[in-house]
């Protein structure tokens, strides 16, 4: 598959980067076993590759303490035809390696204590955007990129800044971020990501039919999307996380210099170092003006 061909057909050729949540705590408790989820995913990847022989699919696993590429169709199909079994074998081997590595990293990382750790969505998004930028720069015509996040575990508010930066960077380079929630909770991060970048946010009700959702909603290329009526979210949770305690807040303080968000009044902005000396002065400390 030479790159010269892909330069000729770019408007219906897709580059799909799929971010897969491999949070062990989530999958241990999930209604849909990881094995079934994985089978659905592999079939979806194969469908994408069959839709157009120039389509490219990259799968990125987002673990608890690391993330990594686990599948790239451009090196998988070097042998020839795209076989489901071949993809399956290769991907499952990579996933196994990744999980083992993630487990080692997590065991060595003291910060993951509770069984409720979030996956590294920010890292996975960054990897995806880097990959897309590489494709962007490789030639004048490139496939239409998009990112699909399959998330199960709840958001990690401590990643708020990094995730928002990724989202805005995706928006600037006009890469839509689609999200499909396979967990129980809506994700405010991905709602905002899809809203801002113009992607589709979906939280399926029947997880056993995951493949059907993926095929119906997320398989079509961006050009065809303009002709389709895809599901719309009813509303977006625009709430932000404060920078100091990483909590999601409704109302807070914003640094007038760098727009950092804080849940409590600060003497000094921890992000840019601006001093808010005039904020809440003690009224009695200004006797000259109080008269």
């Amino acid at each position: 598959m030479s790159s010269a061909h892909s330069k000729l057909y770019s408007d219906d050729v897709s580059l799909v980067v799929i971010v897969v949540d491999t949070n062990p705590f989530f999958w241990a408790a999930a209604a849909l076993p990881f094995a079934d989820f994985f089978a659905n995913l592999v079939h979806f990847v194969n469908s994408l590759l069959l839709l157009n022989h120039l389509n490219r699919v990259v799968v990125i696993a987002a673990g608890v303490s690391s993330c990594s590429y686990i599948f790239d169709s451009s090196d998988a199909s070097a042998a020839g035809g795209v076989g489901v079994t071949a993809t399956f074998d290769k991907a499952s081997r990579k996933v196994e390696e990744f999980i083992a590595q993630d487990a080692r990293a997590t065991a060595g990382n003291g910060s993951v204590v509770s069984g409720n750790a979030a996956s590294l969505l920010s890292g996975a998004l960054s990897l995806a955007l880097c990959y897309i930028q590489r494709i962007f720069r490789s030639g004048t015509r490139h496939p239409q990129p998009r990112i699909l996040c399959l998330q199960g575990s709840p958001d990690g508010p401590e990643q708020y800044v990094a995730v928002m930066n990724s989202i805005f960077s995706a928006q600037r380079s006009m890469v839509p971020i689609d999200s499909c929630i396979v967990g129980t909770q809506d994700s405010a991060f991905l709602q905002q990501a899809s809203y801002i970048t113009g992607g589709v946010y979906l939280k399926p009700q029947e997880l056993n039919g995951l493949f059907q959702y993926l095929a119906v909603v997320f398989a079509t290329d961006l050009h065809s999307r303009t002709f389709l009526r895809l599901p719309k979210t009813l509303g977006v949770d625009f709430r932000a996380s404060c920078f100091c305690h990483k909590k999601t807040i409704d109302m807070g303080y914003v640094c007038s210099v760098c727009l950092s968000i804080f849940c409590k009044n600060q003497k000094k902005c921890s992000t840019c170092g601006s001093e808010f000396s005039r904020v809440m002065p003690d009224l009695n400390s200004m006797p000259d003006q109080s008269k």
Partner: protein
Amino acid sequence: MGSLTIGAKYKTTLKDPGTPGILRMNDDKFTFTPNDPRSAMKLNVEFRSIKGHKFNKVDGNKPALLNLSKDSDKGGGYMFEFDNVGNRDLCRDFVARVLGKHQGMPPRPTMPPEISVPSAGMEQLSAAEVERRVKLLREDSELQKLHKKFVLGNILQESEFWATRKNLLDDVANKASKQKPGFKTAMSDVRPSADGRTNKVTFNLTPEMIHQIFAEKPAVRRAFLDFVPKKMTDLEFWRKYCRAEYLLRTKNTAAAAAEAAEDEELAVFLKNDDILVKEAKLKIKQVDPTLDMEADAGDDYIHLPDHGILRDGSKETVDNDSEFARRTLSQELNRHAAVVLEGIASDVELTDAKSVAEALARSKKEPPSTSAVDDTSHERLLKVARMTEIEDLQAPRSLPYAPLCIKDPREYFDSQQANALRSLGASNDGRKSRNCSLSIEEAFHHLTDQISSIKVNKSNCTVIQSDMAVKVLNELNEGISRSRRLNLKNPQEGLLGRVPQHTRDELMDHWTAIQELLRHFWSSYPITSTVLYNKVQRVKDAMTQIYQKLQAIKESAQPDVRHEISRLVKPMTQALDAAFSHDLEQQQKSAKAGNKSNGF
């Protein structure tokens, strides 16, 4: 400003007959010297201590009085009686001017001092500023509503209201760039008219035509500035010009050559315009260097006989040999178009030919005549490199990007709706997470097991059953048609759309009012002066009123929309509550810190 010396009587009270003497005033102070040197009524007062001045209305036999008050509150001051009203008014105007200068404001002699004393937030506005504000208010009905509500309702001061809208005012100021009237796009041709009886040819020149001639023919302009009035009069100049025009028009080359030889001033008009030629050369240098203009030069056939454009009944051709100017129609059209596009310099008035010529000469800046040769060739090389860009060698173009913006306030309501939905029924889907706390090892072990099972089973399992597929499709369709029904694409149909029209308008009004008030409220903290303290009190009162109104709307709502309304009102009341609680906190803080220094 000078000084003023006038005879007057100084009176300590209104009943006092007064001490006659001389009143002298200058920029800094005024003195009063009594005629009687023994009198103690000598005055030497600096104007700095004078805060205002009053004068009485003179009718009948009442004396003309002027009162210079030291402090407008206490009423202490100096009273002078004048012989007549004229002297008094002279003095009054002088005082007003001096006081105006001292207080940094324009003199307003006829305004009673009670008003001219600057109040705390009073500002001096230029007429233009006021006009701009009025214009903004007229154009933006929402702004006008706010202005009416708060400024005329005495909740905010005029200056406070506009302080937050400086950018709006600046925008207006920037936008108000005056559009200059340009030249007529029609070419005004200086045409001779013959009366038929005598052998006389008449040209009619209007000031407008002269202006245009100067603009289009810089050499004529230069000649005008050179010749008139040193060598010849205005009339002679134009006579010569017209003669030259006539010669050119009749294409009498021989006659033209003969006349030019005799009259060097006339020759100026017959020759090619050297200023234009210079300009043209400069312009040619700026043309895309990859364009071969020499190769294109002969493509128009205009220099061939029987070709060219029909003008004045004959085909015109170019003969390049003639030293005399014979501009073709296309050249004249081009020149005229260029002048029209350049426009008229704003300070040119059409009255006087001389001033017009000077103004035009001023506006035409001489191009840098002698730029180094290697410099220009270098520039040319750069230009060539830019024009003949080889695509493969270029760096990637900056990728297209979309601007960041989320600004429709209605988005906020819809997001609130989503939050409400989430809190209502987040757990009504078929997924129940088994609540178990696993250790890290267990969790990873479980995942590894899953992957082993994947490897064993391969992909033999069916991914989707047909009945499940139908279920999924139905669910998606339902969701799509529901969102279509709600038609979230159309903001009118959001949460606001289900509320009756007048309630919606009322709510939106309140919302803009609350936003305005909250902006003023929060920007007043910390309270450092009584002005700010009073402002916060006023704003707070207004907010309380709106709060009550919101409650009333909520309570009086029809049962079928009450839920929607309460959801809409909630963010507003929350924002107000935050402000009130902040205020309370501040009050408690200052109360706790002790009342001794609590000045407000």
